[in-house]
């Protein structure tokens, strides 16, 4: 993995099947979930539900939301906000796709890391 520059290269888009997510642990920081929607979009969020920290990466992906596997809160992949009547927000990590590879904004990935 490339660790220099503003963007972290986390590998090819083909690693994540549409409709699923995969995880990226950050030593000393928060684990990140990288989502691939059925519509072919990619999003990255901290892998923690705002409710009781359920692993969002394991939820059912629907449109651009994910249903948390623990108590079924629906979290927007775009904004990290809980949908409907539930209140709470998971931090999102800026992501870009370039030449078939995924890049995460380095500063956001490192946000939780205590130096």
């Amino acid at each position: 993995m490339m660790l220099t520059g503003k963007w972290l290269d986390i590998g090819p888009t083909t690693q994540i099947e549409p409709g699923t997510a995969r995880t990226l642990p950050v030593a000393g920081g928060e684990e990140i979930a990288v989502f691939h929607t059925m519509r072919g979009e990619f999003y990255a969020l901290v892998n923690k539900c705002p409710h009781k920290a359920g692993p969002l990466s394991q939820g059912i992906v629907h449109g651009d939301t994910v249903s948390c596997p623990l108590h079924n809160w629906r979290i927007s992949l775009r904004t990290g906000e809980a949908q409907g009547d539930d209140k709470g927000c998971t931090p999102t990590i800026p992501l870009k796709v370039d030449g078939g590879r995924l890049f995460l904004l380095r500063d956001a990935v490192m946000a939780g890391v205590v130096a």
């Binding site: 699923t20 995880t23 990226l24 030593a27 990288v34 449109g63």
Partner: protein
């Protein structure tokens, strides 16, 4: 100055405009400039292609044999001559010098400029796999590519098109019309996934398959294969090998920015331009697919026209500015009507209006956000595409016409629309409501007035909306208008995506031979594009049950526990419960479990209420290794996570117990061996007790056996849990074989009839014990038939899901993408 450059009588007073790229944007920009001020610039256009400007999008009809090249030329030689435009064709520009304001072509030709316009378009993306540059691997961008495809097609044979987007499908269509056998290999699960949702993508796929193309989705290309120095086939990631005489790579495009980058212009994905198409150098402008404007790069022509207008305005001192474009797409494959525009990914605050007409093969979906149209997907009937696109571009509030929106412009603008029902009320009595059964508005209203006060009653009495159901919305409105608030609701629909009940859906799946989730949704006019988290798992189960061995399970429709074959816990770890047949175990199994607990530091092991051991706190990455260790000791998945057979509890029975009447342990093991792995509407538990003292609690199980001296009492429909329900006695049989057959038959009856997420207890109460008895006992052959169907479906479900995962299947579900180690990074 280079002497070869002629100015066609232009005076040196004119500003020199040099254009790089003789394509759609470059030439249109020049046309726009000339239209505003024909005398201002001396224009020179460089084109890499050795020909005049043509309509690139019509290459598809040329390939398909519907047009010739001459017919798609936009500007012939006389246009250049007549407008004093110098064309340098077949000689690409290789360098830009912004200091001396010159460009240099490959031939060495140097041309000075006052204003430079870059319109280099895009390059086809070539996937980085072995063999990608072999002869016979072509892209689809210009006339040379078409010529290569045409000469390959003359020999006939097999073509593989990599990429199921717009370009790929148009290439596939052309090659197929030219007589080649075509296979489309597409990475995503849905064709044209950037333009189509799953439902429309599925309809498109059906039609292309009907036309003889092979469509492989979710297929990742691993390598292009070679024989005798040229392409011979394609190998996919899953090992499939496809023979190919030609391979067309149509996986996407990338803005052609190399020249601009080398000249030091600001470039991200595309060449950065402002609202007047000016790059980071004030004398250099850019238009077309090579640019990035306000973060967006485009791959369609409509935005280019807008860009060219604002560029020309700027160059002729009448700047107007470009604000970005909304785009719409049509697929140019004859006989297929398909339209898509805007954003239809749904989500956050978006609302879908969906209409399906299975009889006509029509699917329409309009997406609203804040009462404005933000996207539309139309398949089979695209007449209103431009109207929706217009509403989208104008950002009009559509709430006044919302109810009628999906029926199209003619209908929506039909009446006084402040009342959602007004459009329907305004229809004349002879207006046709139900196309399938030819029922008019007058007839429906008459039928309602005669006492049909519910949708179901209307359906059964006058047949309106009883077939394809696309007019259900209309009939419901007529009910509301005619009856006011007195509409009776019928049986509850399956979920809010459909008006069909669970029973309707199950019946239709079998009667109509529906074999895929999108097909059910289309035929039964789902009102959402791809269902919800409540209907998808249900449909997946109904199809699995109806078509054993044929239907391919849809993993994305399953809850995490059934996807990972383990139970998720509150801290995100998993619990692992291996099967212990009938509650029996042995030192080898116990040792394997003990080893796993130690090796993976499992914080807890517990004896469950289901007579087996549960290992807690396993991380998803470790699951395959844990399963491999358990498999090695002969243990398989206990399905403690599934809507499936869970456990068969037993007691010690006649082998040891002083009261035991039969071998309850042995029978329990046999029953578990017969039933494990089966998917059910809900979880299913069995127990066998050796005498009426009932130590295995058989009378609160879905199927319970209580052994007695003279044989076996078979009980059904019991439940512990929230509402305790004791079983009903189904019947008594004399032998183990009869008990097993009745067990299989009962399970199959439940599998084929119950609603998804309905356990046997509520199911037996709903249907009545007498009904269940009648199904199983009235016809002497019924039990045999049901049991045979059960055994047949078990042939496909009795393989241990753990073993496959332990062997490496779906590694991606368990492994992390990578790991970020910031401390190393800081030191680097």
């Amino acid at each position: 100055m280079n002497a070869a450059t002629g100015f066609h009588g232009a005076t040196q007073m004119k500003e020199r405009l040099v254009v790089i790229g003789n394509g759609m944007a470059g030439c249109r920009a020049v046309e726009e400039v000339l239209a505003r001020d024909p005398d201002r610039f001396a224009v020179t256009i460089f084109g890499a292609e050795p020909r005049v400007n043509y309509n690139r999008i019509m290459l598809s009809p040329v390939l398909a044999g519907e047009k010739t090249f001459d017919e798609i030329v936009i500007n012939g030689p006389d246009w250049y001559a007549g407008n004093g435009v110098t064309l340098v064709s077949g000689d690409p520009v290789v360098a830009i010098d912004t200091l001396t304001r010159t460009v240099t072509a490959r031939s060495g030709h140097v041309e000075p400029y006052d204003k430079l316009l870059i319109a280099t378009g895009s390059d086809p993306f070539i996937i980085p796999v072995p063999g990608n540059s072999l002869p016979g691997v072509v892209t689809f961008r210009d006339l040379d590519d078409v010529d290569k495809m045409l000469s390959a097609a003359e020999q006939g044979g097999d073509a593989v098109v990599i990429g199921g987007g717009l370009l790929g499908l148009e290439a596939a269509h052309g090659l197929s019309l030219r007589g080649m056998k075509v296979t489309v290999v597409h990475l995503m699960p849905t064709l044209m996934e950037r333009q189509l949702d799953e439902a429309a993508g599925w309809l498109l796929r059906q039609e292309l398959e009907r036309r003889g193309q092979t469509i492989l989705t979710g297929a990742n290309t691993k390598a292009i294969l070679e024989a005798d120095g040229r392409v011979a086939g394609v190998e996919l990631e899953d090992g499939t090998r496809l023979h190919a005489d030609i391979v067309v790579m149509a996986v996407g495009i990338r803005p052609a920015t190399a020249l601009a980058k080398a000249a030091g212009l600001a470039v991200e994905r595309g060449i950065l331009v402002d609202d007047h198409m000016v790059t980071s150098d004030p004398n250099v402008l850019a238009v077309g697919e090579c640019v990035q404007h306000r973060g967006a790069c485009y791959g369609l022509v409509a935005p280019l026209w807008d860009m060219c207008r604002s560029l020309a305005g700027y160059l002729t001192d009448a700047p107007q500015g470009y604000e970005g474009s909304a785009t719409s797409t049509k697929l140019k494959v004859s006989g297929i009507d398909l339209f898509s525009a805007g954003d239809f990914s749904g989500g956050d605050g978006a609302q879908d209006i969906v209409m399906r007409d299975a009889a006509r093969g029509v699917y329409k979906r309009v997406v609203l956000r804040d009462n404005k149209v933000v996207g539309a997907v139309l398949y089979g009937d695209t007449a209103d595409g431009n109207w929706y696109f217009d509403l989208l571009k104008k950002g009009e509030d559509v709430s006044p016409i919302r109810e009628a929106l999906i029926f199209g412009q003619a209908f929506a603008s039909g009446g006084a629309l402040s009342d959602p029902n007004a459009a329907v009320a305004a229809l004349p009595d002879d207006a046709e409501i139900c196309g399938c059964n030819g029922v008019s508005k007058g007839q429906v209203v008459g039928c309602i007035n005669a006492g049909a006060h519910s949708l179901d009653a209307v359906r059964s009495q006058c047949k309106a909306s009883a077939s394809c159901g696309s007019c259900t919305g209309l009939v419901e409105k007529l009910l509301a208008i005619t009856l006011g608030g007195e509409v009776e609701s019928g049986p509850k629909p399956m979920c809010k995506c459909t008006s069909f009940t669970h029973d309707d859906v199950r019946r239709n799946v079998v009667d109509k031979g529906l074999k895929a989730i999108p097909q059910v949704m289309q035929e039964l006019h789902w009102t959402t594009p791809d269902g919800c988290s409540s209907c998808r798992p249900a449909l997946n189960y109904y199809l699995l049950c109806a078509w054993p061995g044929e239907y391919v399970d849809d993993q994305q429709s399953r809850f995490v526990n059934e996807r990972l074959h383990a139970n998720i816990q509150k801290d995100g770890t998993y619990s692992v419960v291996p099967r212990m047949w009938g509650g029996l175990t042995n030192p080898r199994e116990l040792r394997a479990i003990a080893d796993v607990v130690e090796k993976y530091n499992a914080p807890m092991v517990k004896v469950t209420g289901g007579q087996r051991l549960d290992i807690f706190g396993i991380r998803k990455e470790d699951l395959p290794a844990v399963w491999a260790d358990l498999n090695a000791a002969g243990m398989v998945s206990g399905h403690a996570y599934g809507k499936s057979l869970r456990t068969v509890k037993t007691c010690v029975g006649s082998e040891w117990c002083r009261f035991g009447t039969q071998d309850s342990t042995g029978l329990g093991v046999k029953i578990e061996r017969m039933t494990w792995g089966s998917w059910m509407p809900h979880k299913f538990k069995i127990a066998v007790s050796g005498c009426p003292r009932n130590c295995a609690e058989a009378t609160i199980k879905d199927f319970g056996v209580v052994c007695v001296d003279s044989g076996y009492e078979l009980h059904i429909g019991g439940n512990g849990g929230i509402h305790v329900r004791a079983t009903d006695l189904l019947t008594k049989v004399a032998t183990e074989e009869e008990a097993m057959t009745m067990c299989a038959a009962f399970i199959q009856l439940y599998r084929e009839d119950a609603h998804y997420l309905e356990r046997t207890a509520p199911w037996v109460e709903r249907k009545g014990v007498d009904w269940v008895r009648a199904q199983l006992l009235d016809d002497p052959d019924a039990v045999g038939r049901l049991a045979r169907r059960f055994h047949y479906s078990q042939r496909f479900s009795q393989d241990d899901p753990w073993a496959a995962r332990a062997a490496g299947e779906r590694r991606d579900l368990h492994a992390h993408l990578a790991e970020v180690r910031p401390l190393q990074l800081e030191n680097a």
